[in-house]
Structure formats: structure tokens, C-alpha cells
């Protein structure tokens, strides 16, 4: 039985797929990975369905041991992944690990969340159609909780097509940059008429800092207070991820994967789906600027991202990475260690 053993869980590590659809009307949050793009790409690199569950690490990654030869892929924030404490592991590419290998992660250099996918996916029960962990509700994932030391996560038995997975990679130009200051594109509303003209202008003119309170449920921001016309409260209605709520205190809260399904605060805007990964990779002190776009632009951006994913899949059948080669270079009596990934074209 192939499995991944948790040697050290890291700071806040959970199993997530793309979320639990269909139960929001009963008050069940959707959950799912915070950065869908990195998650989907990790799965593609190891030949999984895009929705397969992966390990989501936050800020500080863990250590994982493998008891069989297996392909894995690491995407998202760079937590300095290493094989058996020594060699750097390449990200955004398929990696072959051997029986007994350990993969270790450190602190995120840039970004906040890292994803580890294993070929075949995790053999975990579906709870209401999903393997996503909802920690507050204590269900999904592995026993409804964050990963602990000594957990064994079973991997689905699947005949590995090594030839097919070997050397899969994402071209450098398609790997997202995790910046400390981001622009988030939003659609205004639906409660924009609860704010003064000044309030709306301020929201789009000033930068907002990520406060100390940020988690899978939402990110509380600090900055120029957004002024309400009179009331900050509405008759409770539905909340979806990306919603930017402004309670009476005037500071925005961006609702994310584990957000409650209903709420009674005014929502000034919604971050477009295609920009949510940017939020997922922010930490305390990082800054956000909001920019309004209209729905047809938002859908065009959405289509382009889906197109990009298709091109990546297409790319796997044309180009592969060959084995890394290490070189030592001496330039003006300074020495450099250089790793070169040769790309081969498949005919």
C-alpha cells in the first residue's frame, strides 16, 4: 500500500481538492485549495485529474516520507523543497522520488501557500462529494483536521506511466510571480449603493495592507476606512469567495475558500475568480490595490486562463525536461554553480 508519511506537518497543512459544490444552501462552506491555479497545475504535472486532492502548506512547509517510487509535483510558494535534506527539488515540474526518500520544506521565500501533488492522488473518502478539509466543521480531508506528525496518507494505486510523466514541466514564462504588492481586479457591487461616493473613490485609490488576521476563511485588510452612506448591515444574504465585505469599522475583509455561506455585511465588490490566487499567496504586511473592471472583461480573463491551462497540457506532449546538469562556472575569479535543465522536443 503506497502512502505518504507526515514526518513534520508544517505550520498549517491540510488536504484540499477544488471544493465541495452543491451544499452551500445548507450552510456548508465550499472549502478547497486557496490557489486553484497552482493546485490544478500540480495535478497536471503528475497526470492527475485537476480536481484531485493535494497537500496545501501554509507559510512553513513540512517533511514527508515516501514508501514507494512515485512521481510528485510541487507548485505555489517556494518553500525551498529539498530531497533528503540535500538536493534542491525543482518546482513546477514532475519529480521522481524513490522508496524511502524524504521531501522537506522550509519557510515560504515568496508567497504563502505551497502545493504537493502525488501521481494517482490520495485515497481518502469523499465527504459530500469532496476530499477538501473543512477544519471548523471537522470533516473532509484526513479526519477533518490539519495534518499531524505520523499521519499516513494513502495514495491511490495506479499503474504509473513513467514515460509519460517524466520531465513534464511548466515553461518559466507561465510560472506566476508572487509579489508583495498586488493589483486585484474586482467587479463592483452588489451593495455599492450603501457607500458614499467618497467611500468608493477611497476604496479604489488607497492601498490596503493584509492584517495579522488572515486565514482560509478570509483576509482582514487595514487602510483607508471605506465610508458607508448610513448602515453597514443588510438583511443576510449569500456569500461567495472573492466577496469584499465592509463591516461598520470600514476595513475590508476578502472572503475566501472556507468563508461562511451567508452574512449580513455590505459587499462593496468581488475579486474576480482569476485573481484569487494572488490573495492566497499574500501574508501580513503585503499590500493590495483594487481595480474595477466589467463583467465581460472578467469573463475574457477567465477564458484566457482556461486556454492557458489547455496549452500547458498540450505542451507536455511536445517538450520535456531532460535530467538536470550541474556546472561550475568561473567568471572573473568568482565561481558560480549553475543548474541547467535541457529541454527536449518530442516528435
Amino acid at each position: 500500500m503506497t502512502s505518504v508519511r507526515v514526518i513534520n506537518p508544517g505550520m498549517y497543512t491540510t488536504i484540499q481538492d477544488l471544493g465541495r459544490t452543491g451544499y452551500q444552501q445548507y450552510g456548508m462552506p465550499v472549502s478547497g485549495s486557496m490557489d486553484h491555479f497552482a493546485h490544478r497545475v500540480a495535478n497536471l504535472l503528475v497526470g492527475n485529474a485537476q480536481n484531485e486532492a493535494v497537500i496545501e502548506m501554509t507559510i512553513m512547509g513540512g517533511t514527508y516520507a515516501f514508501d514507494e517510487d512515485l512521481f510528485i509535483a510541487i507548485t505555489g510558494a517556494d518553500m525551498n523543497p529539498k530531497l533528503n535534506g540535500k538536493n534542491q527539488i525543482g518546482m513546477w515540474r514532475s519529480v521522481s522520488v524513490k522508496k524511502g526518500d524524504r521531501v522537506t520544506f522550509g519557510a515560504a521565500k515568496k508567497g504563502c501557500r505551497s502545493y504537493l501533488a502525488v501521481a494517482g492522488g490520495f485515497d481518502l473518502p469523499l465527504v459530500l462529494g469532496s476530499k477538501s478539509t473543512y477544519v471548523r466543521g471537522r470533516f473532509g480531508g484526513l479526519e477533518g483536521r490539519i495534518l499531524n506528525k505520523d499521519d499516513l496518507i494513502r495514495v491511490k494505486e495506479k499503474k504509473q506511466d513513467n514515460q509519460n510523466l517524466n520531465g513534464r514541466f511548466i515553461p518559466a514564462g507561465d510560472i506566476p510571480e508572487y509579489e508583495k504588492a498586488v493589483n486585484l481586479r474586482v467587479l463592483l457591487g452588489p451593495q455599492e449603493n450603501y457607500f458614499t461616493r467618497k467611500g468608493i473613490a477611497d476604496f479604489f485609490s488607497f492601498p490596503y495592507k493584509v492584517s495579522k488576521e488572515f486565514d482560509r476563511m478570509g483576509y482582514r485588510l487595514e487602510g483607508k476606512k471605506v465610508e458607508h452612506e448610513s448602515s453597514a448591515d443588510i438583511i443576510s444574504d449569500g456569500i461567495v469567495k472573492g466577496a469584499v465585505q465592509i463591516p461598520g469599522h470600514g476595513n475590508p475583509i476578502i472572503m475566501l475558500a472556507d468563508c461562511q455561506t451567508t452574512g449580513g455585511y455590505t459587499k462593496i465588490a468581488h475579486v474576480i475568480n482569476t485573481d484569487l490566487w494572488k490573495v492566497a499567496q499574500l501574508k501580513t504586511g503585503d499590500t493590495i490595490r483594487f481595480e474595477a473592471i466589467d463583467i465581460s472583461d472578467a469573463h475574457e480573463i477567465f477564458r484566457k486562463r482556461e486556454q492557458k491551462i489547455l496549452e500547458m497540457i498540450e505542451g507536455f506532449s511536445h517538450k520535456r525536461l531532460k535530467d538536470d546538469k550541474d556546472f561550475k562556472l568561473n567568471i572573473n575569479s568568482q565561481s558560480f554553480e549553475v543548474k541547467i535543465n535541457e529541454v527536449s522536443s518530442l516528435k
Binding site: Y26, I235, Q260, A298
Partner: protein, 246 residues
């Protein structure tokens, strides 16, 4: 009938249909009716609905359906159905053991309203409460219809843990805690039923648009039902009624 509504984008993957901005059974009936028409239509690209007091949020996949197509489709529904048809609704009978260790704040509620314990229980269990929506935590019902004569402010010092099944009063609202959680409601009783049980085939007991009636039971009956619930032998009693008609 007046059937005012607005359709608005809620980000790029959801749309909201908002009825009149007030809490009333009539408007909530429109929400329930529209929700079932949307679900019955099985529109490609529509993922799920969140019905609330006076609005529905519909999540969709923009690769499969555009905002305009969805908006046109919903407008057509609204014009065709008028959503004033009479529909069947259920009343869930919720057994509650009032007072004592199950309802430590029954005394507060009684003294705040100059009533005897028994009077509070009779008032609380004499009404069919509308389930306007579910949300907040899995399976939490937002109920309407409680008598003002037992309204009581929240506890000044919230409890760190309220046991699942606890029935409480907060101001003019009454509700049931589906999972153990902190809270400041005046707890007047507890039901042995599980509003939320992830191991059950249908984890959520209640459905929005229907009703709840509390039925007073004694401790012995509480234990009996609790045992049946544990063994998955208890079926929540329901009554059929007609709602909505104009």
C-alpha cells in the same frame, strides 16, 4: 401580485436575484419558488443556489453559460411562473427538553418577561417557525415568528461552549445550535435531534422554506430519543402544510 426583483452580478462566477428588501414570508416564498424552478430546469453551467431571506445567489461556470444568458433565463422564469403558486411545505417537529440542565437560562427568560417557566414553554412551543434560510454554520436555521412576549436580550457574558442541539433566544430570535460552538444566546432547552451529522446520508436535517414546531418533552423521553438518534433509528416527524398561495 407585485413581483419586484433585480438581477445583479456577484463577482464573475455568481449572480444574485434580489426581491424586495424586507423579511416576510411572502418574499421568502418567492425565493423558495424561484429556487425550485431553477433546480428543476437543470440549466447547464449552473452549479448551485444559495437561497436567503429575500435573495438567491446562483453560482455558475462562465465557460458554460454567460451572464446575459443566465439573466435572460431567470427573467423568463420570473415572467412565466409569477412564483405565486401554492406549494407544499413541511413542518419539522423538534422535540425539546426545556429547563434544568438542558435549558439553564429558562429562568432568565421567564423573569425578564414576568412569566412562569411553563408559560414560556407554552409560548415557545405553540408557533410554527418559518425557516427563512440556512447558513452561518452547517445547518443553522434562521427562524422567524417568535412571540415578542418571550424576547430576551443575549447573555452579557457569552458561553465558550454551547452543546449542539441547544435551543436559545437572542432578542426577538429563536434558534438551534447545530454544532458545539461558543455563543451568547439564552439557552432554554435542548433537542436530542442532530441538525447536522456528517455521517448521515443527508447531513442537514432542515431545509429552507419549511417550518419548525417545538414539542416539549421530559428528560426520560429525551434520553429515549437520544438513544434512537444514536442508533440511527429516529426519523424526524413532519407534517405537510400548504404555503404561499395568494
Amino acid at each position: 401580485m407585485e413581483n419586484y426583483f433585480q438581477i445583479k452580478p456577484v463577482g464573475d462566477c455568481a449572480i444574485a436575484i434580489e426581491f424586495k428588501n424586507e423579511i416576510s414570508e411572502e418574499i421568502n416564498n418567492n425565493v423558495a419558488a424561484l429556487k425550485s424552478s431553477i433546480e428543476n430546469a437543470q440549466i447547464e453551467g449552473v452549479l448551485e443556489c444559495i437561497p436567503t431571506y429575500r435573495s438567491i445567489t446562483i453560482c455558475y461556470n462562465p465557460m458554460l453559460i454567460s451572464f446575459d444568458e443566465l439573466k435572460d433565463g431567470i427573467e423568463k422564469f420570473m415572467n412565466e411562473s409569477g412564483s405565486s403558486n401554492e406549494t407544499e411545505a413541511r413542518v419539522y417537529i423538534i422535540p425539546v427538553c426545556y429547563g434544568g440542565e438542558y435549558g439553564p437560562d429558562l429562568t432568565n427568560v421567564a423573569s425578564a418577561n414576568n412569566l412562569r417557566h411553563q408559560e414560556v414553554i407554552e409560548i415557545h412551543s405553540s408557533v410554527d417557525y418559518r425557516i427563512y434560510m440556512l447558513g452561518f454554520t452547517p445547518g443553522f436555521p434562521y427562524l422567524g415568528g417568535m412571540s415578542d412576549s418571550i424576547a430576551t436580550p443575549r447573555l452579557k457574558q457569552p458561553r465558550t461552549k454551547i452543546i449542539a442541539g441547544s435551543v436559545g433566544i437572542a432578542g426577538k430570535q429563536t434558534g438551534i445550535y447545530p454544532i458545539d460552538s461558543p455563543g451568547g444566546w439564552q439557552i432554554i432547552g435542548r433537542t436530542p435531534l442532530k441538525l447536522f451529522d456528517i455521517n448521515r446520508e443527508i447531513p442537514i436535517l432542515l431545509e429552507a422554506g419549511n417550518y419548525i414546531r417545538f414539542q416539549a418533552i421530559d428528560e426520560e423521553k429525551y434520553r429515549e430519543i437520544e438513544k434512537e438518534v444514536k442508533e440511527a433509528n429516529y426519523i424526524c416527524e413532519t407534517e405537510s402544510i400548504t404555503r404561499g398561495g395568494v
